[in-house]
């Protein structure tokens, strides 16, 4: 079973078309393994990015250095999944 310990989901809000283009470029950097849960569409609309722990620093530096605002939507994906599994087991019982 694949685990997602330390993966975060960042909610990124592009302020302008340039930010959107930068985010699209991020999607093309396969080595970062960023999973776009919600793609950037237009300025002001949020994009959600799941970022593996190993890429977190690079992605955050990228966002900050380009002045793209973001917040952490999910602090640790695995914690959420563990909670989900626990709830399912409880329901079955």
């Amino acid at each position: 079973e694949e685990l997602f310990v330390g993966h975060q989901v960042l909610r990124v809000t592009a302020d302008n078309e340039e930010h959107i283009a930068l985010l699209q470029g991020l999607a093309e950097q396969a080595e970062l393994q960023v999973d776009f849960w919600r793609h950037p569409t237009s300025p002001g609309n949020p994009a959600d990015l799941r970022v593996p722990f190993s890429s977190l620093q690079a992605v955050k530096i990228f966002l900050e250095s380009n002045g793209i605002p973001y917040s952490i939507m999910i602090q640790d994906v695995q914690e959420l999944l563990d909670e989900e599994k626990k709830t399912m087991l409880k329901s079955r019982r």
């Binding site: 694949e2 919600r38 569409t41 999910i74 399912m88 329901s91």
Partner: protein, 310 residues
């Protein structure tokens, strides 16, 4: 042991076996209204089941509903279960659903991507695509919502098998997609296709693969406006609406564009609720509120289809 839909926990997420067992239970509990048909097999040979809600007649006009083409969006399958149960329970009680089913059939595929869904339960909770192997690549699966023959292979989809939006080698390459295509075309009288996804709180209609407005834009837009308004009236959840290309971005090869291009005028896709905290990993406590608020919007569309024959 006697089974009953009364013991099924609609407020919990379920495995594919549990859901498939529940389909049988629903059929047993509503034998004169609901039947289960198999429209094909998945890549890994799982049956593709569709619930048929029908009060009789032959080849009546029909509405197609599907949930869960992106396997990890569990809230959609869960909403599908609740909705299917609601349709069965409300027939004969609610005048709108009764009128719809007295004239039309409803086909409902609750687990549209069973291989992917099973994989989310066993190996990778975040799996989104099908599970077909891609020749020449170590990456597995195709985005089934980019695999339809409507602007196939263009913008908003990827030719890279490792991408989450990989469109596949050719249109309908995925047996899960082909089965629906064959079913709808074979039926010949499907008047509405409603494909349910999550998340981002939108109600969208064609086109996604081109920027020109659909010939029925005005009517679809008005209907979407009413549906999201009635949805919002339940818990205040705000949806945006519009054509796919105007509302999100150009997305080629999608279900609703294919349906529209093949004569299904009332083609819509929902993106269910987003609390801004969980993405598509909504806690199970959100299932019933999500399904409950979606119901009036679905009913609006289905009723409009009934009242506007073409």
């Amino acid at each position: 042991m006697e089974r009953s839909t009364g013991t099924f926990d609609f407020a919990s997420y379920h495995t594919i076996d549990e859901i498939y067992n529940w389909l049988d239970t629903l059929v047993e509990n509503h034998p004169h209204l609901v039947s289960k048909i198999q429209i094909g097999q998945s890549y890994e040979n799982r049956p593709l089941y569709v619930l048929k809600f029908s009060t009789g007649g032959s080849n009546r006009s029909a509405i197609w509903l599907d949930t869960g083409i992106h396997s990890r969006e569990w809230i959609t399958q869960a909403t599908g279960i609740w909705t299917a149960n609601k349709i069965a329970e409300e027939y004969g009680q609610d005048p709108s659903i009764t009128a719809i089913l007295d004239s039309m059939d409803i086909f409902f595929e609750i687990v549209t991507n069973p291989d992917g869904f099973a994989f989310t339960h066993s190996s990778n909770r975040l799996w989104r695509k099908t599970r077909s192997l891609n020749a020449g690549s170590s990456c597995v699966g195709v985005d089934a919502n980019r695999n339809w023959d409507a602007g196939f292979g263009g913008s908003g989809s990827s030719s890279n098998p490792c991408s989450e939006t990989y469109h596949g080698p050719y249109p309908n390459s995925e047996s899960e997609v082909k089965a629906i295509v064959d079913f709808i075309l074979g039926h010949g009288n499907v008047k509405s296709v409603i494909s349910i996804h999550s998340y981002s709180q939108m109600l969208l209609f064609p086109y996604g693969y081109k920027t020109e407005p659909a010939p029925d834009y005005q009517e679809l837009n008005e209907l979407a406006k009413k549906a999201v308004s009635d949805l919002a009236a339940v818990y205040g959840t705000k949806y945006t609406y519009g054509s796919i290309v105007d509302t999100i971005y150009q997305a080629d090869g999608t279900t609703v564009d294919w349906a529209y291009d093949n004569g299904v005028k009332y083609s819509f896709t929902f993106e269910l609720r987003d609390t801004g905290r969980y993405g598509f990993l909504l806690p199970s406590s959100q299932i019933i509120p999500t399904a409950t608020e979606t119901w009036p919007a679905l009913l609006d569309i289905m009723l409009h289809v009934l009242e506007h024959p073409y």
